[in-house]
């Protein structure tokens, strides 16, 4: 599982050089190996549809639906009313309120400081204060 994850992380590092076909294949492989890890999140009781794997110190807001097939890296924050499925979020990421992410990858240290976004089949990067500032690459 970690092997695919580090390959995906490497591939999604640089906005200009993403090999989408490799990422899709690796994601599929990664999700077949994904198992639950839910014991160390911070927050109330969100809805989890397994498999969901949370690294340490993930913060989750109210009325959040996570899964199936979701990995969230350490120290990331998911705010209220968010829905995430078939998605990999790397470490130290902030996702604003009412985001809906389906089949996405969010690159390490990304921070989306705004609310309301519906994204499918996309890699998301960087620090964005609004939807217009968001850097994405669709697949």
């Amino acid at each position: 599982m970690k092997e695919e994850l580090s390959k995906i992380e490497e591939l999604s590092k640089e906005y200009e050089n993403i090999d989408i076909s490799d990422i899709k294949m690796l994601m599929q492989k990664f999700f077949t190996k994904l198992r639950n890890r839910l014991e160390n999140y911070v927050g109330d009781y969100p809805t989890f549809i397994e498999p969901v794997y949370l690294e340490d110190n993930v913060k989750i807001g109210d009325d959040v639906l996570i899964g199936p097939n979701v990995y969230i890296g350490a120290n990331s924050e998911i705010q209220d009313y968010v829905e995430i499925s078939n998605t990999i979020i790397f470490e130290n990421v902030k996702v604003g309120q009412n985001f809906k992410l389906e089949n996405c990858i969010v690159a390490k240290n990304s921070s989306f400081n705004f609310n309301n976004l519906n994204m499918k089949n996309s890699v998301l990067f960087g620090v964005a204060e609004s939807k217009d500032e968001l850097k994405t690459k669709d697949f």
Binding site: N36, Y45, F48, E50, S85
Partner: protein, 238 residues
Amino acid sequence: MSEKNQKTVSRIKEVESTNLAPDNIRNEVIETKKAVEKDNDLLAERIHQNFKEHNVKSFDIVGAIGAGKTALLETISQRLTTKYRVLVICGDITTRVDADRIEKHNAETIQINTGRECALNAYHIHQIIKNKDLNKYDIVFIENVGNLICPSDFILGTDQRIIIVSITEGEWVVEKHPMLFKMSDIAVINKIDLKERLGTNVDKMISDAKKINPNIKVITTSAKTGENVEKLMSLMGF
């Protein structure tokens, strides 16, 4: 009284006179409620179609906390997995206790932790189904969150709904929760092995279920001793 307190008191008076929502948002609340129900039914229909297209038999198991839903699913899975490929979706507020118990009987399991939601809905099931190859299964059981009230708000698109109560809940449990009996195909009265000891009026429970829903099939079982489990399975079509 401070201005802030006065405002709170007058707001309480306003809210006291309304059941659903204050006048200014009442219509919006009603429309939202109707839309949610309609969307759930649409998704449930889609799920049912999906099951049918793949020749998967499907059951929604509802019942109170501790009625024996998991225990019955354990014993049924044990019998069915020798012949069929079984997927069990388990709904619980938190933990993987039920899924772990059932998995020991060779069924594949998926746990949904609903957090603070008191029932599974069609969206939860749809999220799972769309990520699964249904050709790999013959039977799907959905063990709903333990609750005799909320699951009546959300159909899940299964072929049949089975309601499980037990005689330890008292002989009034059926008549006190009519809605789910109205919406179910089979009513199971479990823990029948304790009948003599508890003295529960089981005949009343059976006649109450029939009164509420004349079409419902009622059976008494014991997941512990295995009494009538085979009969229940034959009512389910096995």
